[in-house]
Amino acid sequence: MISHVLERTAGVPETGALAKVLKLRARLMDLTQASHDAALLPRVPGGLSLPERAVLAARMARICGDAALAAHYTELAGNAGDLLAVAEPGVGSEERRLAALLAYTDKVTLRPKDAVPEDIEMLRDAGLAEGDIVRLAGLVAFVNYQLRVANVLRAMGKSA
């Protein structure tokens, strides 16, 4: 049984050529899962709550058109209440802090090349502590990694 989020949502078969090449990188897939847990389900979430992390991840998955990872992250968000609305790309917020989280997440997912120092200043002005800026950046960066590996694993599975 595949317990890792990435292989499960990418629909990797348990046997066959793709399963075999993943086996050589089993330690890296374990560390990918550990990185998922550190980004989405950390023991010490700091100022970035677990539901906030999950809805931002779901939003990134939807931006990338990944229905399976979007469903996974939405499930993680659970009963996030009003926050669930922003799991949908394009939905904004009147609340300054959440609006800043969304602006950073969208820009760094869609157009990381356009990042400027003012993006970090915006987060600080919206009340994020230094550690929380790093936690947010780490979440956005990890989810974008996971979405790309999932994209290829699906394509490889189909053309096995």
């Binding site: 890296l28 560390l31 990381p112 230094e130 936690r135 974008n144 790309r148 290829v152």
Partner: protein
């Protein structure tokens, strides 16, 4: 006053953080443990001290980074670096591109490939295999990522096996991650 580097180069700049790094003197036990391994076994930099604000993430990330770039078998070291550069080119992470282009050059003893990549991007005139790797890396680094079955077949047609394709994917996607940290949490400066 140091100058911000905005053009691709193989001369590795200094990285100036926008976030206050963790002070090693006052770091917690968990932060020190997370810092005990560093990416590519380099010294403890301002970059990893910034990431040490989140030791739980850093302690998984560093061994994952080193494993993807250095573990034995599969794709060659140089071609993993080429995947890293493809992502860094798309994401315009000048710092990552400089570090990994210079590693590519050290391994291959050939500076012309990176010169062409920095000049012409995915249109660079490279040998067929390198060109396919570069194009795959560029397509994977788009948002949304653009890899389909045809891209996998194109790599196989040039002799890459599935282990190599997986390793190229991990290296390229890893830099989608690294670029999003390095290029947002700080900037490359000339410290001359």
């Amino acid at each position: 006053m140091s100058r911000i580097i905005r053009k691709f180069t193989t001369r590795v700049p200094k990285w100036r953080p926008h976030v206050v790094p963790v002070d090693l003197e006052t770091a917690t036990e968990e932060q020190r443990t997370a810092l005990s391994e560093t990416p590519s076994n380099t010294k403890i930099s301002d970059y990893v001290l910034v990431l040490a604000h989140d030791p739980e993430a850093l302690s998984a990330r560093t061994p994952l980074f080193n494993g993807i770039m250095y573990d034995a078998g599969g794709l060659s070291r140089a071609e993993r670096e080429l995947g890293a550069v493809a992502a860094s080119f798309v994401n315009r992470c000048i710092y990552c591109a400089a570090v990994h282009a210079s590693r590519y050059n050290q391994i291959t003893k050939d500076e012309t490939v990176m010169q062409k990549v920095f000049l012409d991007g995915e249109a660079a005139d490279l040998d067929a295999r390198s060109k396919a790797i570069l194009e795959f890396g560029v397509r994977l680094s788009q948002c949304p990522p653009q890899v389909g079955q045809a891209d996998i077949e194109a790599l196989r047609a040039l002799g890459l096996d599935d282990q190599e394709i997986l390793d190229l994917t991990l290296a390229t996607a890893l830099f989608g991650w690294a670029n999003r940290l390095m290029h947002t949490l700080g900037e490359p400066v000339d410290d001359r």
